[in-house]
Amino acid sequence: MAGHGDLLHVVTADEISERRRTFGRLLVWGSLGLMVMTFAALGLAQSGVIELDFKDWRPALYAYLFWATCLGIAQVVLHGEQGKRSLFILPATLFVVAMVIFPLIFALGIAFSNWNLSSLEGRSFNGFDNLRQMWGDPFYWNALKNMLYYTAAILVEYAIAFGLALILASNIRGRRFFRVAFLLPLMLSPVAVSWMIGKSMMETRFGPIARFARWLGWDRPSFFGDPEIARATIMMMDAWTYIPFMLIMILAGLQAIPREIQEASRVDGASAWRGFWEVTFPLMLPVSITAILIRVIFKLKLADIIINVTSGGPGGATDSVTSFIFREYRDRSNVGYGTLLAIVYLVLIVVAITAFMKLVNRWMNPKYLHG
């Protein structure tokens, strides 16, 4: 499957005999047949058509592994040296296909059915009922709206991270110490953070942050009582863990800018402020957009802190989509509906991110430049 245009050229004179080719084909189709047969046998046994003593679908897994191995061997048998190249990406591809594509197809099946794991009756197809239920579910829409707020907060995180990166890139003493100190929050588990900060430091009576707030003159500090404040608190905790991430990416970008450019702007008499806005910032745009995009992707998965600190409260004000679906499953075992919500979320994300990338692309490479 590897062919022309390789960066690494290898001249090979493989002479693959007809017998070897037959053996290779046999290997692929034979193992594929075996896998199909295993699936069919297990499926039939499941529905009670044939008698087969099996506890679970493990044999299907082994059959897939066997087929994958045979496919790999067959590549070398069939294509010789060329086949050895496809062995580089074959394992990862087969792994991702098995772990993502197959479950996603499966998820589509679940999403359009009424399936509650706690009720005795199994799964039943119910068409678009789940979609209709979603349309009228204020909590889901609320969670989506919260995700917009949470995502918007990234701009503030970005500004802070950029400021810190500028300081770190400037001429300071003890840079290594500060870099390690600033990096540490990223290493901490969100669950531990939600206890450390959310449950103990923000505890209204004894927590140090509550004490500090009282000292500042906030009489009765409560960080999770009021919806707006609760959301802001969650944003801050999440920002605390992830600012180092943006900080490091921006810092790497800053250090890649040639010094001469900034010096030239200084020689030309630009003030530090103008030098930043007209030289450094525009040069940093590509890095900034990458950092923001990755941060958005991580932000869209936000759940751990919310699940552990507020469980979505008060009144769903802090719910993210993930934490909402998590509770939908844990409290109500509603697999069908939960999966539909997740799939709708995935579609929304893909559309939004594609649109964002298209916009950025058009903005960064304006048409008139290409003529």
């Binding site: 300081i167 669950v191 531990a192 449950k199 990755i294 699940i307």
Partner: protein, 306 residues
């Protein structure tokens, strides 16, 4: 001893120095404030694990000065000088969770590193064609997995794992974790391999190595720093993972974050115990962070700057 000063700073120069000085103050002030913001929660957790109820309630902050450190918090997970020699069920429970976390994180990071390095190397050196999929499509296929929110996979996997009898097993967790960090590994490693000149491998091929031989003997050792970076980043993400672990494990394969989460509600003002548990969950990564900071930054910077 009054001496005659010959050279005088002019007023303009003095003003410049004053401005420079205030600039320094602002910069170091900002640095210090952010350092406190970053480190105080860690400091607070570590010290609280040595506190007793009165210390917590009176808001004591500095050990030995404000309060006398006590091992009570660490005794609640069976790790104190007094209990270390004895049988302890809580410690066994804790160590079991700790081992689960370690195995799941290390195994999935290694697996992702193997699969990811191979794929990244292939993509950076050869042109593939799978049907309509070219190299850029295959790269996008791998990297786009990053967008996939875990919640989409969580429920199907719950059902699938039940069918496959993989629920509440480490293997199941390892497979899923590998999937979540694979795009990151491929992203970092592709960058690494592209920076290695092809001539090196050509020389190796001339010398009689096969492409796989050249990959293992020549390319991988050069790319080792990048691999360490990718490994540590994966380790951080998988060690801290909570969502899948909370859904897919119950008794056998439960990991440390799930244990921490399950205790948060029940402990009440029992802060010392929670602090000790949280501290032990974050300490391994803090140590890694301090020792291997260079690699982590290198790994995360891979996407930037280019």
């Amino acid at each position: 001893m009054a001496e005659l000063q010959i050279f005088h700073d002019s007023d303009v120069d003095l003003r410049h120095r004053a401005k420079h000085f205030t600039g320094r103050v602002v910069i170091y002030g900002g640095l210090l404030v952010w350092t406190v913001i970053c480190l105080f929660p860690i400091y607070w957790t570590l010290t609280t694990s040595f506190k007793l109820a009165p210390n917590v309630m009176q808001g004591h902050l500095v050990p030995f000065l404000d309060f006398t450190p006590k091992w009570k918090g660490w005794e609640s997970i069976g790790l104190s000088p007094r209990l270390i020699g004895q049988e302890s069920t809580v410690r066994e429970e804790f160590l079991k969770r700790f081992t689960n976390s370690t195995i799941a994180a290390c195994a999935s990071s290694i697996l992702a590193l193997i699969l990811g390095s191979m794929a990244a190397y292939g993509l950076s050196r050869f042109q593939y064609r799978f049907g309509f999929m070219r190299n850029s499509d295959i790269s996008f296929f791998f990297l786009s997995q990053l967008i996939l929110p875990p919640v989409v996979l969580a429920l199907p996997f719950l059902v699938l794992y039940k069918q496959l009898d993989l629920l509440d097993t480490r293997i199941g967790l390892i497979l899923l974790y590998t999937l979540t960090v694979l795009p990151i590994v491929i992203w970092i490693m592709r960058d690494q391999f592209q920076a290695i000149p092809v001539e090196l491998e050509e020389a190796a091929l001339v010398d009689g190595l096969s492409i796989w031989g050249a990959f293992i003997a020549i390319v991988l050792p050069i790319a080792l720093p990048g691999m360490v970076a990718a490994f540590i980043l994966s380790l951080v993400l998988t060690w801290n993972e909570y969502f899948f672990a909370a859904l897919l494990t119950s008794t056998d394969a439960k990991t440390l974050p799930v244990m921490v989460a399950s205790q948060t509600g029940s402990q009440g003002i029992n802060w010392w115990a929670m602090a000790a548990l949280s501290a032990s969950a974050i300490l391994p990564l803090i140590v890694i962070g301090i020792l291997l900071e260079r690699f982590i930054i290198k790994g995360m910077a891979a996407g930037a700057g280019r």
